[in-house]
């Protein structure tokens, strides 16, 4: 993979007042207007004036277009905009956060003062250390060939209608298609002297066919089951998905599942397709390596982790074939940025190397507590939420060989493809996934189609049974937009790359 490197200017905080609003960015147009900078500066200054030892302000504008069609009808056609500013402060060792939808100095000041009052009322005593960060000015913009907002809504509707028309089948009761486009502009200023200007552009799409007959219901989706897939890219990404091309296959497979045998219960070898591997990585590696979960701050809702901070560098997570990388520089990843929402530059770091835990996903605060790293995984859902430790792009690195080779080495087993259900315990140990489709593997070849497949395991045992990952030619990255965490709840947009992988002695066919 090629790596995109963020250009930054490194400045001392003493120079902050002399900063020009635009850093070294390769010359692309300025993303945010001067008014946003003025608002952010007013928020930071007001917070510091009210006693904050640290403050940051994020001004965000977000534009989302959503198109969804179902059975020849336009179901969803939305153009949504939202804007506002969020101010985060540290007062007496306590965090505070408040937001305001006015993108003005007055709105920012009001938010800052409310955030300080809330922090003071929280009554936390003591200091809260943050990992050191050089003051930076910089900017980042998603590279796109065709701006997804330059494609008319009418053309987006037409694409969806064509794709679902190609899914017509006598057993398919519901054919649906969707596309989306998102643009988020944000300006970040902090009392440490950061000034960061970013514009992230996403788009994506997908199709689903739902078949039903005689009380049976089955579904097939492409490219994934989670309202399609998205990428930080231009409209060329959506065109490259080939929704129309794949539609008839998706419909035929949904119908065929109605007549398929149920996946039997067994302990067997499984070969898991790249799409399902992405969710496996997300749930059983991504979330447990979020350091805030390790330290317990998400215990009430999302849960904690089976990992301890002291496991770093020594815990055997899986077999030697397991290599996981957190990479916020991956081209087209939904977790790609120039800087995270604390102003930490994008980076590529190992999380698991040859089966051993080598890294956590961190914030400046959790990195300081760990005494290692500098953060870089703090992300907020829009302007009205505090940043949390979130995945960026988390990948299973490829091994070697083709999917066909992986299967050819299996005498008896199950091939599992496209997520259907997902659940994992609060420490991220016991998981159970279901897939839309499975196929029997016999004598090294794919056999009959199977429906209602599930598999279950315990995270380190399961990853310990990994005996081969397919090569770079099979490696696929998909972006998900529905990762939930936090109270109040936040959605994160993350990407995962994976190749198909093979695991031995896995329980499949869990019955109710």
């Amino acid at each position: 993979m090629t790596r995109w490197v963020v250009e930054v200017q490194v400045l001392s905080s003493a120079l902050r007042s002399l900063l020009e609003p635009h850093g070294g960015d390769g010359g692309f147009p300025r993303v945010c207007c001067e008014g946003l900078r003025e608002a952010c500066a007013a928020g930071v200054d007001a917070a510091v004036g009210a006693g904050a030892s640290y403050a940051d302000a994020r001004a965000v504008t977000r534009h989302l277009q959503s198109v969804g069609t179902k059975n020849g009808r336009v179901e969803t056609l939305t153009d949504a905009e939202t804007e506002g500013i969020g101010v985060r402060v540290l007062v007496g060792g306590a965090w505070g956060f408040a937001c305001d939808r006015r993108l003005t100095p007055e709105g920012a000041r009001d938010a800052a003062l409310r955030a300080c009052a809330f922090a003071a009322a929280a009554g936390v005593n003591g200091r809260r250390a943050l990992a050191p960060l050089e003051a930076r000015s910089g900017s980042y913009r998603t590279p796109v060939r065709q701006d997804p907002f330059s494609v008319s809504l009418a053309d987006k509707v037409a694409l969806c209608l064509r794709a679902e028309a190609a899914m017509q089948h006598s057993d398919v009761k519901v054919a649906q298609a969707s596309v989306r486009a998102l643009s988020e502009r944000k300006l970040f200023l902090s009392s440490d002297g950061a000034e960061i200007d970013q514009e992230l552009v996403e788009c994506g799409g997908g199709i689903d066919a739902m078949a039903a007959v005689d009380g049976l219901f089955q579904m097939r989706s492409y490219p994934s089951a989670h309202v399609g897939v998205s990428a930080q890219a231009g409209w060329e990404f959506v065109e490259g998905l080939g929704l129309e091309r794949e539609a008839s296959r998706v419909a035929e497979e949904a119908a065929a599942l109605l007549r398929a045998d149920e996946c039997p219960a067994a302990v067997t070898t499984v070969v898991i397709a790249a799409e399902q591997m992405q969710l496996q990585v997300h749930e059983s590696v991504g979330h447990p390596t979020e350091l805030d979960r390790v330290y317990g701050t998400e215990a009430a809702y999302a849960g904690t982790s089976f990992l301890q901070a002291s496991d770093l560098g020594s815990l055997r997570y899986g077999s030697e074939h397991m290599n996981i990388t957190a990479d916020s520089t991956t081209p087209s990843g939904l977790g790609t940025f120039g800087f995270d929402d604390e102003g930490v530059p994008a980076s590529r770091e190992p999380v698991v190397a040859e089966g051993v835990l080598r890294g956590f996903l961190t914030s400046r605060e959790t990195a300081a507590r760990l005494g290692k790293g500098s953060g870089g995984s703090m992300r907020a859902d829009g302007w009205a939420r505090m940043p949390l430790v979130r995945m960026t792009n988390l990948h299973l690195e490829p091994g070697s060989g083709s999917l066909e080779e992986l299967i050819s080495e299996v005498d008896e087993g199950i091939f599992l493809d496209t997520n259907r259900s997902w659940s994992i315990d609060d420490k991220r140990l016991n998981f159970q996934f279901g897939t839309q489709v499975a196929r029997e593997i016999k004598g090294g070849k794919l056999g009959r189609m199977l429906r209602d497949a599930t598999y279950t395991g315990v995270t380190p045992v399961f990853w310990g049974s990994l005996d081969r990952v397919a090569g770079p030619e099979e490696w696929v990255m998909h972006g998900l937009t529905n990762c939930g965490k936090g109270q109040p709840g936040q959605h994160a947009h993350v990407s995962h790359g994976a190749s198909p992988a093979r695991f031995r002695d896995v329980q499949v066919g869990v019955k109710s």
Binding site: R73, T297, N430
Partner: protein, 451 residues
């Protein structure tokens, strides 16, 4: 902010054959705590405006949170562009007509007036009552207004308040859970919530394994509410019925569940989180979903009701989520006669007792099969008594099987918050008793209680 006034201004700028404006405002605070200190306090103020235009059988939606004249004018321009891009939809129902709306409770001045200092104080009251264990969770309160104005002459507006205290008392090898939610914050005693969580946690040390098996079980209200909420996504949803993925498909009028099982959706119930109308401006109806074990039907919004030849029951979701279909958000499960969970344990005899569920997922919508984990208080029941603590258990249950044989339910019911406060604030919850079942299918074991 006067939400209806904003809606009127936006409507005046709209140009379409029909136009509908939905305005939602929010002022809220979250004093979120972990390790017995407030670590993520969040104050939110926002106002969202949605303009939906219908023109020549086409529909389009635009939204903004700018409520100045320029922002609303821009909204009208964008909505006009959107509707011009739509294709004709012969199934598109017209906008809701003016209606008289029921008088509801649901707004409390004292709750509305709570500010950051109050939220921090109430969080501190919970933290101070968790004893030797650290507390995790939050105290939140908010005031919201929902207003709808349309070219049909419909005008609707309601102000509501809500408050929730959520407490996980936890330490090494021990954790217990409790929560309270109400539209009057004064009904919530944060210390009592923390004490319940800490008391439950103290009983979870030394958790044992339990093997996969079909157990008899007692589920606390926290657990049964969560299970019913996930079951509602497909099986209590009129769209899912039309699309044949609801368990109710082909079974309406059949006796499927235990005669003790009655489920209604009643947003007018003052003991819940009341609402007078849905996000299309349809008055909320009292809907019987299951009556003494007999399936009566799902809930409907305007689009699905039109397809089914029925009337909307007032269950339209916000426009951004409407493709999901209508979902009941104020389900009440009829109470039983048991005086306590301990009495239900006597009815079960031998089985397990479950406090709370975690990370549910629908495995098979048509069969109502759901998987998930238990957490923060799972126990063995032996000889009719709640006995030793258990590790967190994976379950894969058919909800219809679970409700088919119900030895008992408690007389007391509890309102359980089912909104996780994603996106715009909208509090809703299910009021349920604790329930005993003859069929709770455990398919694996996970981590122990505690951090």
């Amino acid at each position: 902010m006067d939400a209806l006034a904003i809606a009127e201004r936006a409507l005046a700028l709209a140009s379409g054959d029909e136009a509908e404006v939905v305005v939602g405002t929010e002022r809220s605070g979250f004093a979120r705590y972990a390790g017995s200190e407030v670590h993520q306090p969040t104050l939110i103020e926002n106002a969202g405006v949605q303009l939906r235009l219908l023109r020549d059988g086409r529909a389009g939606l635009a939204t903004t949170n700018r409520t100045d004249d320029e922002g609303l004018a821009e909204l009208a321009r964008r909505a006009a562009d959107v509707v011009a891009s739509a294709s004709e939809n012969p199934d598109l129902p017209p906008l809701a007509s003016p209606a008289s709306f029921p008088e509801i409770d649901g707004y409390d001045e004292e709750t509305a007036s709570l500010g950051a200092e109050d939220q921090a104080r109430l969080a501190a009251a919970a933290i101070g009552a968790s004893g030797d264990l650290d507390l995790y969770g939050y105290f939140t309160s908010g005031v919201c207004e929902l207003a709808i104005a349309s070219t049909t002459g419909l005008r609707a507006s309601q102000r509501t308040t809500d408050a929730t205290c959520l407490a996980l008392a936890a330490g090494d090898g021990a954790s217990g859970y409790a929560e309270r939610t109400a539209w009057r914050a004064g009904e919530i005693d944060p210390a009592e919530v923390a004490e319940e969580a800490a008391g439950k946690a103290a009983r979870t040390r030394g958790a044992q394994e339990a093997g996969p098996a079909r157990y008899r079980a007692v589920l606390d209200p926290y657990a049964i509410a969560e299970l019913l909420y996930y079951f509602s996504f497909d099986s209590l949803n009129g769209l899912a019925l039309l699309e044949e993925r609801s368990f109710f498909a082909g079974r309406i009028g059949e006796q499927v569940f235990d005669p003790q099982v009655t489920l209604v959706d009643d947003a007018l119930d003052p003991s819940g989180l009341p609402a007078a109308f849905d996000f299309e401006g349809t008055p909320k109806q009292h809907v019987t979903l299951v009556e003494e074990g007999v399936i009566r039907g799902p809930v409907w919004d305007r689009a699905t009701a039109a397809r089914a030849g029925r009337e909307s029951t007032g269950h339209a979701l916000p426009a951004a989520s409407r493709a999901f279909g209508p979902v009941p958000t104020a389900v009440t499960m009829a109470a039983g006669k048991a005086e306590s969970v301990e009495e239900l344990a006597e009815l079960v005899g031998d089985g397990i007792y479950v406090t709370r569920l975690h990370y549910l997922s629908v495995v098979s919508p048509h069969e109502g099969v759901i998987t998930g984990m238990t957490r923060d208080g799972t126990f063995r029941i032996r000889d009719g008594k709640i006995a030793e603590p258990l590790v967190n258990l994976r379950f894969t249950v058919s909800v219809p099987d679970l409700l088919a044989d119900v030895p008992g339910l408690t007389r007391a019911t509890q309102l359980v918050n089912e909104s996780d406060f994603y996106d715009d604030r909208w509090a809703y919850g299910y009021r349920v008793p604790a329930l005993a079942t003859a069929c709770f299918n455990v398919t694996g074991a996970g981590s122990g209680p505690g951090l």
